[in-house]
């Protein structure tokens, strides 16, 4: 059983189901008027955020607080990091303060892995560069399962900038572990060169994939990609890979539309689609807290971590 959650690949099928089942139980807590459990009382969780990400940080913060953990928020801006402190020295500082878990968001792929060398507590990857974002994949899987039931055999289309997406990487791995069939849909410029080695299908044609999909997950397209010749223009991207009202009509009745946020309305997703009943976007946010509670609970709750294995 692992001590850290760095990659969705760290999770066996049993681990993943255990997190999702635990989240299901914890969801009931979130529905109470007093949303708090004493489970992690006396434990310290540090949110170490080198990138601005208010949504992910407050989601982890809420999760830790609902489990009664002490939460320390450490954001790079205005801290010693902005004065040139290295990741190692920041880590040693947190270690000296006795962090039981460090939740890290970092712009460099692999930074959470590096951090495991310098802290003795659990490390939870809250998004590293263009590598992974495993708790996002877990909350996506949790959301899908609540809407669609068992994910085995379900067809999931992940659409957009796969090349730079940590969400896509974690989702492909986790959904594969859970038995779903993933199809990545993107212009060829936004797919990694060796994507055929990934456990999924690949298509350049969104219209062909939509009718067969139970889940359509739209990825955010970063503004800076438009200046780097990944595609000719925002309008062309939107025409070929955006989920608009017309395309929405091709999706079957029970299918859902997801987006990890923040959205570019009118770019990869039309406003009507984002706000429709098929959209799970707001649920995803709520489920994020629940799933992150489950992850912290299982990593820190017992004397031994209940999920993953020692790295």
């Amino acid at each position: 059983m692992k001590k850290h959650l760095i990659s969705a690949a760290d999770l066996s099928r049993e681990d993943a189901l255990r997190i999702l089942d635990t989240a299901e139980e914890l969801a009931q807590v979130s529905e109470r008027s007093i949303k708090k459990l004493p489970t992690l009382r006396g434990r310290t969780v540090v949110n170490l955020f080198f990138e601005d990400s208010t949504r992910t940080r407050i989601s982890f913060e809420a999760a830790a607080k609902r489990l009664s953990a002490d939460v320390i928020n450490f954001s790079a801006k205005g801290s010693s990091v902005s004065k040139g402190e290295s990741l190692k020295d920041t880590a040693l500082t947190l270690q000296a303060m006795g962090a039981d878990a460090v939740v890290i968001r970092h712009g460099a792929s692999g930074a959470p892995q590096n951090l495991t060398q310098w802290v003795s507590g659990s490390v939870v990857n809250a998004g590293d560069g263009t590598h992974e974002h495993p708790t996002q994949a877990l909350l996506d899987a949790f959301t899908m399962r609540r809407r669609l039931g068992d994910l085995a055999g379900r067809r999931v289309a992940i659409v957009g900038d796969v090349l730079h997406s940590r969400v896509a990487r974690s989702n492909v791995l986790l959904l594969h572990t859970l038995g779903a069939q993933v199809t990545l849909v993107a212009p060829p410029t936004l797919l990694p060169v060796a994507v055929d080695a990934w456990p999924c299908e690949v298509s350049y044609d969104l219209d062909a994939v939509l009718p067969k999909s139970d889940v359509v997950m739209m990825l955010r397209v970063q503004q800076e990609r438009m200046n780097a010749a990944f595609f000719p223009s925002a309008r062309e991207y939107s025409r070929r890979y955006g989920l608009d009202r017309d395309r929405m009509a091709r999706i079957h009745d029970d299918a859902i539309v997801m987006h990890p946020g923040p959205m570019n309305r009118g770019m990869e997703i039309a406003a009507e689609v984002a706000d429709s009943a098929r959209s799970t976007i707001v649920e995803q946010v709520a489920n994020g807290v629940t799933v992150r509670m489950a992850v912290l609970y299982l990593l820190l709750g017992g004397s031994e971590p209940a999920i993953g294995g020692t790295l």
Binding site: S86, L87, K88, H106, G107, A108, S109, G110, A111, Q113, N114, D128, G129, T130, H131, E132, R166, R169, P192, V193, A194, V195, A197, W198
Partner: protein, 425 residues
């Protein structure tokens, strides 16, 4: 000063004695004596190794390496001559800087330091440096390189290739198309896609090599290709050589042994430029070194202080040290695999690099009358790589904790021992 080396297996042959007098090999035979005796029972005698590609970091980054510490490392690795790359601070782009480096090498005395001159002023790729002044200086520069950066401008590259013909120079190109490798972190392939690290495509190396081979042929110049890392590059160089063009190439020990899967740990000790490639590339490089398509092994010894490697991958410096492990890695990858014999090792690590660099006092066969530049090597031992024992000021070896064969027992520079019993003499 006189020394007799007893029972050395010259190029792995039958045991023989080598008598050294006044810095030169006086006699080879059996039952020789005279002066001090060095017992070489079971040891292979090789001509002193020559490195075409060493970063000594001085002047400017004496926290990573100095000429003194880098040449100690070279001697411990069996080298008697190293080419010091030009990307120092200030850049070695004037006669003054190359003479300073050359003189520091003379003073250190552990091996000969042959400075490499920058091709362009400040390595900026804009204007040619005063190549002739460096060639005519006391340092007698013959190899010119902007290593670390590619001479990307095709016109500038053409002019450099043409210009150095006047003094029998060679341009050593760091082949990296800059636009294709902006922000590149590792080999572009299955592993980079999975790890989310920006890819450095093989085509970015191969495109420049192909262009430069065509340019060298067009103007009838010598081209040397630094640190070839891909199977495709090998094919292009093989083709250029088949045309009779004057193209030579080097491969580093790390590209002969390690693959891009090492990046899976995100340990920047494996971050290097050009990056570690795939197993297919490694086997193509070994085959090319064996058949002579790649002329020589060059270390690209690139020292970095600890803090530049103890960091997240993207922030880490590129490069690894290699002087003190090169011969062991070549034994592991080329000799123990049957691809090269010891005569082949002498050719690829001494004769040919000396010839490319136009060093007349190095890369000579061990025979009467030749300068006594000799390395005694014990191929029978196997040791775990321990960087704390290195003479280099830096510790960024990718082989830490790995078991590698062989050990340099002694190195002689013009008859004077620079290393004895594995230690600096």
């Amino acid at each position: 000063m006189s020394i007799t080396i007893k029972n050395a297996r010259i190029l792995g042959g039958d045991p023989a004695d080598i008598r050294i007098e006044n810095g030169a090999v006086a006699e080879i035979g059996t039952g020789l004596s005279g002066g001090e005796t060095v017992d070489a029972d079971g040891l292979v005698a090789l001509p002193g190794l020559v490195d075409l590609h060493t970063h000594l970091r001085e002047p400017g980054r004496e926290d990573a390496e100095t000429v003194e510490t880098g040449t100690r490392a070279a001697a411990r690795g069996g080298y008697t001559a190293v080419h010091a790359m030009a990307n120092t601070s200030p850049v070695a782009d004037t006669a003054g800087v190359v003479e300073q480096v050359w003189r520091l090498g003379q003073e250190a005395g552990h091996c000969d330091v042959q400075p490499v001159g920058a091709v362009t002023i400040g390595l900026k790729g804009e204007r040619l440096a005063e190549l002739g002044a460096m060639a005519d200086s006391a340092a007698r520069v013959r190899v010119f390189s902007d290593d670390g950066l590619c001479v990307n401008d095709a016109v500038l590259m053409r002019r450099a290739l043409e210009y150095v013909k006047a003094f029998d120079g060679v341009v050593a190109q760091h082949a990296q198309e800059p636009r294709l490798t902006e922000g590149a972190q590792m080999n572009e392939g299955e592993v980079s896609g999975r790890l989310g690290l920006a890819g450095w495509p093989a085509a970015a190396e191969e495109a420049i090599i192909a262009r430069d081979c065509l340019l060298a042929a067009h103007v009838g110049s010598r081209l040397h290709v630094c640190h070839v890392s891909t199977a495709g590059s090998v094919e292009i160089i093989r083709w250029a050589k088949s045309k009779g063009w004057n193209v030579t190439a080097e491969v580093t020990p790390h590209h002969l042994l390690l693959t891009d899967e090492r990046a899976e740990t995100y340990d920047p000790i494996y971050k290097v430029n050009p990056p570690l490639r795939t197993a297919e590339d490694v086997s193509a490089l070994r085959a090319a070194l064996a058949d002579g398509t790649i002329d020589c092994v060059a270390t690209d010894h690139a020292p970095h202080p600890v803090e530049d490697k103890e960091t997240e991958w993207a922030a880490a410096a590129m490069g690894m040290i290699g002087l003190e492990t090169a011969l062991s890695v070549v034994q592991e990858t080329m000799v123990d695999t049957g691809l090269l014999d010891w005569a082949g090792v002498a050719d690829r690590m001494s004769y040919r690099p000396a010839r490319i660099g136009r060093l007349t006092g190095h890369g000579r066969a061990i025979e009467a009358g030749a300068p006594a530049n000799i390395t005694l090597y014990d191929p029978s031992v196997r040791e775990t790589v321990d960087p704390t024992a290195f003479a280099s000021r830096s510790r960024n070896t990718p082989y830490i904790g790995m078991s590698l064969p062989g050990r340099v027992v002694a190195t002689f520079l013009r008859g004077r021992p620079t290393v004895l019993e594995g230690k600096i003499a």
